[in-house]
Symmetry: C2
Subunit: 425 residues, 2 copies
């Protein structure tokens, strides 16, 4: 058995990590304790500078690609071999928390630091990646950076036309953050299939299971299959006082019915693993004395079973058509934005994670990730695995999100040991 | 019978009025043909300057009160008598049209011009009023200017604390438009009960009846009683992938259910005159992968029968409580913002309007206003009446809103003659 000297080195690193997490959380467009850090905003640029600063302190060789995926590499003794990579994201949806993604970036850098302090010498290079825009906030596209790295040609096409809610194009937004993109640069973001020997992501669970069961580590065996849908209804609108009820075709009520239909169809699936959410519902013109003339919904449906998830989507589509007929409104858009297949963790990475947990005497649970992550796309170009740590009540995407220093320390040690083991293979 | 010389003067004035309406519509924060002109915005300030400019061209004596109600007076030969006033508003809700309110301001100024050109000499002074913020867009308070003029002490109190959605206070917003308000100035906006001998408002119908029946003039006998309500639900929110369905308390779905309950309770009233609308429904944080943790609705309920309307509000309240219990969310606000009684037109003003219609050989219909107007509040301090003209398909509060030059010309002539008649009484 290999002796990992740094294992006996105390846990001073957890307080350094906590301080970094708090510092990063201060780059926010909403007041603490909430965090809002949207792609290519000034705060996002600040966070990028901060991450690159730590990478440089650690002596990593730093590279950025055309869309701002950031890579910090510790070159191994056999630099020509595929590297062992880890990483996550630091963008944050409006009014969310400070751990989602961040633990997988700052924690990964802490894992590198721990290995360096222990005197470890990697054979395969080790690399920390900060992915651009895991969250879909600005352009409606989740995992933008990793999706591109995995070679999504459709995304390259659509990014040329993509605009945000203020009609700012993707290219102009990137430019404002200092990334001068020519449309053909986007292909250069694609990575080779043999770029990485393994990819591991450390993340808070974003669910309540580990905390409830008192287990410090989750080893992810599969990531649930997500899909997202945009829907728009259009109607005549009109004055809230003057248009009598029989003359109305109220698209706000059509949207309300569809939101409830999503819940109904999800529950009909009969499986606890099926979830569906209407996180965005907007009415136009949005005045108290005006009947809505346009409504816009964005729907998220997920399942570990792809077919069951797609059945729900079909039912939601049928409901949208039925509602539009009954209410006399137009279903002007029903667009499936993405409908990704699920991903399985690779046996080689699971083995390394189980080895690490046993070495560290940490109890672990093999589990499914119901949230999706950059790992879903990294799995297309590399053997993939994920390490989960518990979070308070399973809360995520809100200010109450919390992971304890102890749980983060366990996650960092798990990640360090897993990477070290894979580096020597 | 009085001979109204100007009646024979052709209708050149309608094209001048159309040109002014188009010019005013260009002061908009949304692209044509829509109009967006929100209280104290730069566009609102431009519009105010434009209206005062026309008043000065007509030789009217111009006065502004503390909140920006604008008065243009043609002083009569017996200036000590109560004046005959008319007017409406020029603020426009987001993405609305160019006739709502505007016809009653620019049309009133055209009526003054017509009377001046005809050589008419008023005995009682004639006055055109441009009311501040008939629309509730910015501060959630409808008919802000006329409500204050009518002496609303509650409004004076609440305005000291009122902020808009960007947390800008009413006082600061007014300041940015050039109105330096000290909280005690607001009382100075109150008018005496005998300030006006009569008030008449010219307005598009905002409903389909006149157009459908081919009748050019509506004489309003009563204004329906409006009420508006703000509702907020709060729940735990969370990640759209990770929180399983049984663990959710989704306030977006609570809001959807309440919106549909409003429709249900309105239809249960059994009267065609009961209407209810959810024009605003907002979800927080508003991200596709986040379960809503706060939802906000604004509900508008109206009826010509005050008790029947209030019964609907009670049922909506009960539904909100039931929904919050069933879904395990908190009903953190259920606030009735206003619950105004209906207003009746005064017999003296109706008589003058009927006289004018007969003089002009215009067919007219006695009707109810289902939309409410500044007249609702002017009725508290003055005998009140309203003149309606047809509008295309009854459309209002959207870009397709339209009134024909002929219908506007009829309205202007009706208003001019009604004011002239009352001025001599």
């Amino acid at each position: 058995m290999i002796c990992w000297g740094w294992q006996c080195g105390g846990d001073g690193f957890s307080s350094a990590l906590v301080a970094q997490i708090d510092e990063l959380a201060s780059f926010s467009d909403s007041p603490a304790p909430s965090v809002t850090r949207v792609l290519y905003s000034d705060r996002d640029v600040q966070a990028r500078r901060y991450i690159k600063g730590i990478m440089k302190q650690l002596g990593l060789s730093v590279r950025e690609d055309a869309v701002g995926n950031i890579f910090g590499r510790w070159v191994g003794s056999e630099a020509e071999l595929g590297a062992v990579a880890t990483g996550s994201h630091v963008d944050a949806i409006p009014f969310s928390g400070k751990y989602d993604g961040v633990v997988g970036v700052l924690g990964a850098l802490e894992a590198i630091s721990v290995l360096q302090r222990s005197g470890f010498q990697p054979k395969r290079s080790l690399e920390v990646i900060m992915f651009t825009s895991e969250e879909p906030t600005r352009f409606g596209i989740s995992c933008l950076g990793s999706r591109l790295m995995a070679g999504s040609k459709e995304l390259v096409q659509s990014l040329k036309r993509t605009v945000d809610n203020h009609n700012v194009s993707f290219v102009d937004a990137a430019d404002s953050a200092g990334y001068k993109i020519h449309p053909d640069d986007l292909h250069n973001v694609f990575l080779n299939q043999d770029a990485y020997f393994a990819f591991i992501e450390l993340h808070i669970e974003q669910g309540p299971i580990l905390e409830k069961e008192g287990i410090p580590i989750g080893i992810v065996t599969a990531i649930a299959a997500p899909a997202s849908i945009k829907v728009e209804f259009e109607g005549n609108g009109g004055h809230a006082g003057a248009v009598l009820m029989p003359a109305r075709n109220d698209v706000g009520l059509a949207a309300a019915e569809l939101a409830l239909a999503v819940e109904k169809h999800v529950l009909e699936s009969g499986s606890i693993d099926t979830v569906g959410t209407v996180g965005i519902l907007q009415l136009h013109p949005g005045a108290i004395n005006s009947i809505p003339s346009k409504s816009h919904l964005e729907i998220d449906v997920r399942d570990v079973d792809e077919k069951r998830r797609n059945d729900v989507i079909e039912k939601v589509h049928k409901s949208a058509i039925d509602i539009s007929k009954i209410r006399g409104v137009e279903l002007s858009e029903f667009k499936i934005i993405n409908q990704d297949p699920p991903a399985l963790s690779d046996k080689s990475v699971i083995n390394a994670m189980e080895f690490a947990a046993k070495q560290l005497s940490l109890e672990y649970k093999l589990m499914i990730s119901r949230a999706y992550h950059d790992s879903l796309f990294m799995a297309r170009i590399s053997p993939m695995g994920m390490i989960f740590i518990p979070c308070y009540k399973g809360y995520s995407h809100k200010p109450e999100e919390y992971a304890s220093p102890e749980d983060m320390a366990n996650g960092v040690q798990m990640l360090a040991l897993t990477m070290a083991k894979l580096s020597l293979e």
